[in-house]
């Protein structure tokens, strides 16, 4: 978020507002967003709204259909597949990289995540999902590669949009915890290969579960 001192521009406020609404599905895929009506509703001019929409378009959340308006992109099966495929390639790589530079403190931090998530699994599903994202992004941060981090962050954002269904059944949450533990264990052995495999396995499983759920829904 761009800030100038303590000042947060309208553009960024509008951007966050719309993006959150899109991720949380308050704005459904297929809904159209009009610069003028959003501007009116939020009490700002078209300019910041326009810039916020442009940014969302760059990021692939919405698309501009000429003379129609800005439309929230549908979630296709293909989208989910692509996001997981990208995560598979890059998080596996993250595992390999991180395995060679991780320290005791980092592992302690990971165990903290694990502890919190174990508690949250029975209390707050939304928060569980957020924590899951943070777990993965924590690993990404350790690589120190800003481009890699940004890409994975972007993918995580997209996960949130369809991820809610993915983890929200109890058995999958338990599996998630097990797989995270396996990842931590792999780091403790220090093996690059094991760390990669553990992350790949975890991502692959998430993908399989989510796609299976989608296919089931579509069948109805």
């Amino acid at each position: 978020m761009k800030k100038i001192g303590k000042f947060v521009s309208y553009t960024d406020q509008v951007y966050r507002e719309i993006k959150d609404a899109v991720i949380s599905l308050d704005i459904r895929p297929g809904d159209s967003l009009q610069e003028r009506s959003i501007a009116e509703k939020l009490g700002v001019s078209r300019t910041p709204v326009r810039e916020a929409l442009k940014k969302l378009e760059f990021e692939g959340w919405v698309e501009t259909i000429p003379w129609k308006g800005v439309v929230v992109k549908e979630i296709e099966r293909q989208d989910i597949f692509e996001v997981f495929q990208c995560r598979y390639a890059n998080e596996g790589f993250v595992g390999e990289l991180v395995a060679s530079l991780i320290t005791e403190e980092h592992i302690t931090d990971l165990k903290e995540y694990q502890k919190r998530m174990t508690t949250l699994a029975e209390q707050d599903r939304q928060q569980f999902i957020n924590e899951d994202r943070d777990f993965h992004m924590y690993l990404a941060q350790l690589t120190g590669n800003s481009r890699l981090i940004q890409f994975l962050d972007h993918l995580s954002d997209q996960m949130l949009r369809f991820g809610i269904r993915a983890v929200s059944n109890d058995s999958r949450m338990k599996e998630t915890l097990k797989e995270h533990q396996a990842i931590i264990d792999a780091f403790e052995t220090g093996s690059k290969e094991k760390a990669r495999k553990a992350l790949e396995f975890h991502i692959q499983n998430s993908q399989d579960i989510l796609l299976a759920m989608i296919d089931e829904e579509d069948a109805n």
Copy 2:
């Protein structure tokens, strides 16, 4: 590029113009870009210039320094390292994916690239670099994963900016051709593992050469 029929917006024209200038180093890192003077020079208003600069900022080409102006980002050693690291992870993965779905026709196409590049190596370095980029992007396209393609495309853009030096010595061009051949050979065997390794090897070599050149320059 967003088009409405045959109409290309000023925003996109300005975007392309500035981006090309940045990539080709006509605009040097550290140079500052002023909305007003660019608008005047190109004969358009601030609005499209502003939007073009926003897009460039989002893509990481420039950064906005409050009350100072929009400044073209410097190329640090770290940037080169990051780009290659991302390419290593993702192009290796591309190799693995593509190996299982590549056809005879595709391999023929790759050999065409190889033929053209062999000729260009002795004639036109700039064109050699463009063709090299196309070779890699052709492989990326075969995955059909638009997010992966977009990411690699973005990385390739950044390569152009510092890549000119990377391939522009004769011995490296010859090596590049050999390594591309090895990639094609790997695809012909159909082995996922070999294809991945061949691409990883190629990227790793490019990185080593380029970073060595940078370090040498910096030493002077």
